[in-house]
Symmetry: C2
Subunit: 355 residues, 2 copies
DNA sequence: CTTCCGCGCTAAACCGCTTTACTAAAGCGG
DNA sequence: CCGCTTTAGTAAAGCGGTTTAGCGCGGAAG
């Protein structure tokens, strides 16, 4: 049987109140009783029951991460791992815990209701997702990541379009015209593209508009290497084969790298590949991946900071988008057989950052 | 203000009991009232308060992961991500949630007390860690991973020694004699090597004992690429420079790969490297990493399954260690300038599995 | 010698839900 | 029409804490 506050009170010959005070309001107790109570509590191995405490205090000391995917896919995703690092930093600093809240029986709403949390951080929800409606009907403070802010919920984002645009321009300046674009998947089955995916696509297209390029081949792939490989398989063959790929995630880009290699294509000579995220492993692939860097850890830290401020009663609004930058490595070059063009990025050795 | 069960009861003109029954024991209510109550509850947007529910039911529907490290380092670690995939699978299947429980103010005991969970999965704790004592004094069901089982807590492990032995033998058969071993760090600052680290070291040494090799250079490094690079820097130079490295984690091995490259050494010609884990990215490094494969996801699934069974009142014991196998890729070969030796693994193309 | 104050502590209400025991009404066979 | 079993629903007692209101008491002020 669990040791309760009443047991301690009994053993120490005081009231439950006194025991509670000993832990939470020690100055309300006399020196002697305080010490006695703490002593007895320690001997009995007393620990306040977390649920009882949460019920009484109306706070649980936990913040939830609302994940619109199956847990097994979450951890396969390096991007999320990075993000969690940022969240974890802040959460730990404030002595909170992290509760992972995946859909319950396929329903995020159900999961939201079950979760005993003080606030939520939600990932990649479309603005019209029912889960958001549930959240503000319940009045649970929430901060969104990779989504769109609303009057009730601030959102943390990066400059998705800008990053995408510089990636596309990089390829176009190298002389590529036949491009393939690999989109991020919708977060929930029924929904359309996520806000992030839409913004990045807009960025690519803004660049394409400036050059005389045909519309790119587009396809959607989840953030795994396997999905990237499948996307590669789907590319048109022959005359319309893309000479360069714009992937919206590094995981997918790396999958393309592998599949291209298996198909006997050389990167970057036969196929240029640009990713998005700049995960740590992007620098370790062969060739090293040219990609759009976004400050993932910082994104997590910022979101957590905002949520914690909200929990403290402060009013917070969506911050300005964090900036992105193109990191040129070895996976991009001029298309083979192309004449010299304006850009000369492919001459570079090592890494180069382009704001 | 939150909608409580009393509000619903009032609005529907029934007792709190009836409302509770409507959700948990619908068969105890008449058809008409049942529908009315559910209807009203839905209109009001009623959701049972999770903490209140947990308090009353004496279960929270959450399992905790006891992490003996800072959260930010946890997610940097691919190995744990893999493990969480396995845990996540099972947890989700049973409609539970995952609570990440890192040390609170540096104290795991404190964190354990705060956490509202039905059971714990703990990672890499030494058998004499105080946290274990706290756990069984509180009587919280726990399953250990990468640790040592006790009468109270079952532990899930792989055949650490066997995997390590085959890795070392692989190098020895290739002709290497000057080896470096990179150990896993202790999980908690004060403690000694983890059981896992000790078992793997024993495996290495068992192999060394069979050959005429001098004792290896040994050093400890946390599971990050940066730590691996630092470990490489510390290697003796000149005559005593190791020709091959046995790392206890892939992350460290990959760090060594990078640092060796930066130092102008060619892998595998000048330095052979063997990792441990076989993370997905091990196949993507250049050269691809020779490593010991352990079934990480399965390890997580198994641990979760055991814990869930325990929560259902079943008695469970430590299962047999899961098996490991050596995966030979491109990061190992004969030491340069060595004469032909018995083994000829370096002739192989692509991957080869050695049980 | 009262009066008042503050100190140290306690009784009891409350947080929101579940569940056991119990009652009133309805059904039913004889 | 009576006694007995179901059926449908309720009151109240927990679960284990926190917190408000208040009580007795010793000492300082009047």
């Amino acid at each position: 049987m669990r040791v309760t506050i009443a047991d301690v009170a009994g053993a120490a010959g005081v009231s439950k109140t006194a025991v509670s005070f000993a832990f939470n309001n020690p100055e309300k107790l006399g020196q002697a009783t305080l010490e006695r109570v703490l002593q007895v509590a320690h001997e009995l191995g007393y620990t306040p029951h977390p649920a009882a405490r949460a019920l009484s205090l109306r706070r649980s000391g936990t913040i939830g991460i609302l994940i619109p995917q199956r847990l097994s896919t979450v951890f396969a995703n390096q991007f999320l791992s990075e993000l969690f690092q940022g969240l974890g930093d802040l959460v730990e600093e404030h002595d909170l815990s992290l509760l992972l809240v995946p859909p319950l029986d396929g329903s995020l709403e159900g999961a939201i209701r079950q979760a005993s949390v003080d606030g939520f951080i939600s990932l990649g929800l479309s603005p019209d997702d029912e889960a958001l409606a549930t959240l503000d009907r319940l009045g649970i403070p929430t901060v969104l990541i990779d989504s769109e802010g609303s009057s009730t919920h601030p959102a943390v984002n990066v400059d998705d379009a800008g990053g995408a645009e510089s990636a596309a321009r990089h390829l176009l300046e190298l002389g590529h015209r036949q491009l393939a674009v690999i989109l991020l998947p919708p977060t929930r089955s029924q929904a359309g593209p996520t806000p992030t995916s839409a913004r990045r696509l807009a960025g690519y297209q803004r660049a394409l508009a400036g050059f005389d390029a045909p519309p790119p081949y587009t396809i959607t792939a989840g953030a795994t290497m396997a999905a990237g490989a499948r996307a590669f398989e789907s590319f048109p063959k022959g005359k319309r084969r893309p000479t360069a790929v714009l992937a919206m995630s590094d995981m997918v880009a790396i999958g393309v790298l592998g599949a291209a290699d298996a198909a006997g294509l050389r990167v970057p000579q036969d196929l240029s590949v640009v990713g998005y995220d700049d995960l740590p492993m992007a620098a370790w692939t062969s060739p090293p991946l040219t990609t759009v860097r976004q400050p993932i850890v910082e994104k997590g830290r910022l979101a957590a900071r905002l949520l914690i401020q909200r929990l403290q009663g402060k009013v917070v609004t969506s911050p300005a988008p964090l900036s992105t930058s193109l990191v040129v490595r070895g996976s991009t070059s001029r298309p083979s057989g192309s004449s010299r063009t304006l850009g000369e990025a492919s001459e570079l050795v090592g890494e180069k950052e382009v704001s």
